[in-house]
Symmetry: C2
Amino acid sequence: MSESTPDRSRVPAPVVRRLSIYLRELEELAAEGRLTVSSGQLGHALGFTGAQVRKDLAHFGQFGQPGVGYGIQRLIGDIRRILGTDRIWRLCLVGVGNLGRALLAHAPFARKGFQIVAAFDSSPDVVGQAVHGHKILHVNQLGRVVKDLGIEMAISAVPAGSAQEVCDALQKAGISGILNLAPKRLEVDGGVSVISVDLAVQLEQLAFHASALLAPGSDRR
Amino acid sequence: MSESTPDRSRVPAPVVRRLSIYLRELEELAAEGRLTVSSGQLGHALGFTGAQVRKDLAHFGQFGQPGVGYGIQRLIGDIRRILGTDRIWRLCLVGVGNLGRALLAHAPFARKGFQIVAAFDSSPDVVGQAVHGHKILHVNQLGRVVKDLGIEMAISAVPAGSAQEVCDALQKAGISGILNLAPKRLEVDGGVSVISVDLAVQLEQLAFHASALLAPGSDRR
DNA sequence: ATTTGTGAAGTGTTTCACAGCA
DNA sequence: TGCTGTGAAACACTTCACAAAT
């Protein structure tokens, strides 16, 4: 019966990632009017085993009914509480280039409770402009604005060359999470979590697998 | 002693991902004029151990010199060959919304050898327009154009609701890799690789870790 | 009859530690 | 000396399989 928090820092990262994915599917099922789902059904729809689903949830308590499965609405609420998405998060965006602009207008973030409330850049060409309803501020105001608006997380879409510098400023401003889209590893000291997504790296993974099809495996010593 | 290809399908995914990251750092080091690097130095710069670096490379052959380390230019060439990025890949983009537009203009892809040579959408509002120098085609031309232009990989930036449909069309057109940006698991049958990136999932991971800071770990039974 | 929650087994990945080479 | 390449050990994650619950 819905519990929580078994020392979150030792929950394996893959478990947390899958929780998001379960949530996505559960919301879909709820929209279809389904009331309950078994671990096997949920797993099957997503390419996981039922045991995986059950073990993942077991990190956080007991949520199911033997013989019945999981109450969909209930589980949605529980997973949201576990992930911390049962409330609205205030974010800022740093770097209003092509990618940054797209993210400012990206509706799904807001729907998931991630609200971008400020946007920063350093280029005089964009500072002062309004982009998708957001007035762009200069990065040198970042510290003040983050504190004034109670901003908790940031999306950084700046070039690799400024990524660490921006990261330092965000950290100093007291932000607790950074989604880094630059192809650069960020150094932070405790208390701030960083997740980096590099789309070029993902394309290289695809290239690797696609090459395998063309270059048959010669295994010489 | 640069070698290659020890049955690529059984190389662990994390190894391939790190190869991309090593490559990124090696290119940086090369730009700084460095000639050699040890596994320890390379790992340290990226948050990995030296042993990890050596084990990863060991999947593909022997690349280093005891007492010296790795020749940077040599290793860059070898990793590019392993990943299959020692040539230009022809991609198409499907879905010219906010995100799609940003990717069409995203210079780093082209620099890494991923060239977007066609863009598709289904909305009459954008089909026929030119966006960042790309004439937008209707998705119903996808099969023909993919074959005519020899397109090998696709980036799909369509809404979740059309993601599977587009995936089916891409597969039928004979594409070998899909980078899926929609929050939806794609079903494919052998021969096509899919990598999905859902930025909302990443934000949820950050929310989970940020919540841990606020909600101290009460571990009740 | 069905499905959960969970120890135990199995599999996969990372780190250790050291022989061998430059 | 400094560093690679690699078995062996440690650790992490997933799957199995079944008692308990409805």
